[in-house]
Amino acid sequence: MVRFVGKQCLLSIPTILLLTFFVFAIVYLIPGDPAEALLGNTASPEAIAAYRQKMRLDEPLLVQYGVWLGRVVHGDLGVSVRTSEPVIDAIVARLPVTLQLSAVALAFALVGGVPLGVLAATRRNSAWDGVAQLVGLAGLAMPGFFLALLLILVVSLKYGLLPVSGYVSFTENPVESFKSLLLPAVTLGFAVLGAITRMTRTAMLEVLGDNFITAARAKGLRERTVLVRHALKNALIPVVTLTGLQLGSLLGGTIIIEKIFGLPGIGRLMIDNVYAHDFPVIQGVLLFLALIRLATNLATDVLYALLDPQVRFQ
């Protein structure tokens, strides 16, 4: 197991290097001087010259990248042009909101999606199956920002059930915190809910057709036991994988959701600074989210290997 994890980690080193290069190179897409883009155009010519020298911007691209990477490795993602706040601090400060939001969204997707998928698979062509297929399709096609507006319109503006904006931290007031996150989390988790429902249904159908289920049934085990102990346990393996892989799109979704619901998380940090052309922050968030995604993918692989012993021997 340790060797497996170690190997996966080693394999991701070149990926991380390339990924950081992407992030580094993005400022070269900006028309004009990258030093000015990174310092803001209120920076003095002297400051820009000093920065050029410090980051060795007059040398070949790879040298520049090396210098930049060296700083990033030491946790120095630069300083926000707009607020002079170190980028790493800004990210860390906003992380709890995004993590909570994502956690509630994921919980919503799992709690809703797995049972719905199981129901659909065990009662094919029933009303449940219809609902599951509908949810699966809607999850694919429903834009989060449209769903958000519909929910705000109905739940908050018409009936005033839940707040439309703002964030209450969990430590401050758990109930209010949950209420403030419910609408955004449902919106954010909806696409994942659809994907999980579809995947659970498909996987359950596949497993239910397998010989060992027939054998279990033949042994005279109760249907419930067969379903939960044997079928679901096996069907969940691909669902776990899918859930892990969906984390990335979940993080991407936070940009719009946090903007619409006025939540001070990573996504909001990203979009606010896109508007402000604050490239150190944009780079920082890009890098951070990509690394998180890579880490969750890696964790998913490991989890998958744990759940399905065959993988390890490959």
Partner: protein, 554 residues
């Protein structure tokens, strides 16, 4: 977004040496204009929505400063305010961008009377001006800073020494660089010695001369001074979560033992105007500022809200970069001025809120000329101008505008108005400050912004159209205009000055370095608050002071 001209945009970036010049922003001249406004825009300040029944017929817009629905103040409770723009810093000696929060927890020697805008006692109870260059202040006794340090003559001297210290390099230094020295006479008396007569010294003190505890200035970290500088104000900063909220709480040892009434104020930072408005309507905010005109009708129709506004001394316009193509050509600029239909812009874009602007002089100002109207929508004239510019089939240009939905909407209207002539206007949007800094650098073709203006026409003319003006972002240079404006600020006779300003306005409008669009109402375009807010008196300087405010117990 609106420029208030409080800070030299260059200097807030800390880039260039500072020049001493600061004039008092001054008052919004209430009710001075003879605006023939239809009754659909009641625009009353501080009155309840019920009382603001549409006034029929055309009558001068009057601003009622009668206190709103009074009663006995009830201490306690809290207020939640929607804030569109997060302050860049709370340090009054830094480049403050948004005064809304600062004015709740920092105070100066003098305040400004809300109606006359004359200086009134605040931290100084009295002052004496023995000669033009000497001001002697008697300080209020028993005043404490939030950190427990007593406010006294030493604190005054310490603050000014700090502000004027070249090492500190405060952007505020230039506001007070006519101050030669501050002398401590005794515990509660302090004398300011000026280098030369400085007529607007008291007003400058009121607007820029905030005090932070000298202990904090010496011992606190820069980061703490940026977020929660201890002042003497009725509230103190409890918390500031960037991009989320700023929480102020009652200062128990405030020198006015009765005030403030509120226990706390929470400013929710909601840069997205849509989010802010939705949150207000959903009852999550008690108070919003910069309410777009498009929301005003709905807000006014709802008796639970109070709406506050007044005609502004400023204007909204499209800035044209006169040093870069295509607008280095006056004909191309005039073509735009001929095409814009201001009445339609106001009818659709701001639902009738505001009046058409043809020049920089605004209705409440004494120099305003109601008959001045050089441009009316004319495709023919625009075509002629385009032909003269050598681009008979039109041209394409990019306009920079903040990503506020209201401003983008206005520009969509302009796009449609320009289209028939063959002129294509593309938009580039972004956060206002980011765009603004590129505009200051001259890296733009066209730019949409507002100017807050002031009571004196000089405020609307010199900074923007004199070739040495700080806010001359259009890079306009006309020797005749320069001469007129310099002459006008040097004399005192109002009639004479009116003539000069009107002359200058004519030249400016003809050269069209800006396309003037609309005289707006106060802020963008007003403030609104819920019925539970009591005792609020709108401040013409738009500081949103909550010292006297209480909330109705729920």
């Amino acid at each position: 977004m609106i420029e208030n001209g409080d800070t030299n945009p260059r200097q807030s970036g800390g880039r260039e040496p500072r020049i001493a010049r600061r004039r008092f922003l001054g008052a919004l001249a209430f009710g001075a204009g003879s605006l023939g406004l239809s009754g659909k825009v009641p625009a009353l300040v501080g009155s309840d929505a019920q009382a603001a029944a549409p006034e029929q017929g055309s009558r001068p817009l009057r601003l009622s400063l009668a206190p709103p629905r009074q009663g006995t103040p009830t201490p306690g409770g809290s207020l939640t305010v929607g804030l569109g723009e997060q302050p860049s810093t709370h340090n009054p000696y830094g480049g403050m961008s948004n005064r809304t929060t600062i004015s709740q927890f920092l105070e100066s020697l003098v305040g400004l009377d809300i109606t006359t805008l004359e200086p009134i006692p605040l931290l100084a109870t009295a002052w004496d001006v023995p000669d033009e260059k000497t001001y002697v202040f008697t300080l209020r006794k028993g005043v404490l800073f939030h950190d427990g340090t007593p406010f006294n003559a030493d604190a005054v001297k310490a603050a000014f020494d700090y502000m004027l210290d070249p090492e500190v390099a405060s952007p505020r230094a230039s506001d007070f660089d006519r101050v030669d020295s501050v002398e401590v006479n005794d515990e509660h008396t302090v004398t300011f010695h000026l280098k030369e007569p400085f007529g607007v010294f008291l007003s400058t003190l009121a607007r820029q001369g905030y005090f932070v505890s000298p202990t904090a200035l010496k011992t606190w970290s820069a980061a703490d001074l940026e977020t929660k500088p201890p002042g003497t104000g009725p509230f103190k900063v409890a918390d500031w979560i960037k991009d989320d909220k700023i929480v102020l709480e009652r200062f128990e040892d405030y020198w006015d033992s009765e005030r403030p009434y509120l226990d706390s104020i929470t400013y929710r930072i909601l840069p997205d105007g849509n989010v802010k408005t939705i949150a207000f309507k959903a009852g999550e905010l008690d108070f919003v500022d910069n309410l777009p005109a498009t929301e005003v009708a709905a807000i006014q129709a709802n008796p639970t809200y109070t709406f506050a506004s007044a005609p502004s001394t400023g204007y909204r316009s499209i800035y044209l970069n006169t040093t870069a193509p295509p607008f280095d050509n006056a004909d191309a600029r005039q073509a735009l001025a001929h095409l814009v239909d201001r009445a339609q812009l106001i009818a659709l874009g701001t639902l009738g809120f505001g009046t058409p602007a043809q020049g920089p002089l605004a209705p409440p100002q004494w120099a305003f000329d109601p008959d001045f109207s050089p441009y009316s929508p004319s495709l023919e004239n625009a075509k002629a101008a385009l032909a003269a510019a050598g681009t008979p089939d039109g041209f394409t240009f990019t306009l920079k505008v903040s990503n506020s939905p209201e401003e983008v909407r206005m520009m969509e209207i302009i796009q449609a108005q320009l289209a028939p002539s063959g002129i294509t206007m593309s938009l580039e949007t972004g956060e206002y400050n980011a765009i603004r800094s590129t505009v200051i650098d001259g890296d733009y073709q066209a730019f949409f912004a507002g100017w807050l203006g002031g009571p004196d026409p000089d405020r609307n003319m010199f900074d923007s159209f004199h070739s040495e003006g700080w806010f001359n972002w259009v890079r306009y240079k006309n020797d005749e205009v320069d001469a007129l404006l310099s002459q006008a600020r040097a004399i005192r006779d109002t009639e004479e000055r009116t003539k000069l300003y009107r002359q200058a306005q004519e030249r400016v409008a003809a050269d069209a370095p800006m396309v003037f669009l609309r005289f707006p109402y106060w802020a963008v375009d007003g403030q609104a608050y819920t019925g539970r807010v009591r005792g609020y008196i709108p401040d013409p300087m738009q500081d949103m002071l909550f010292k006297d405010v209480w909330v109705e117990p729920q």
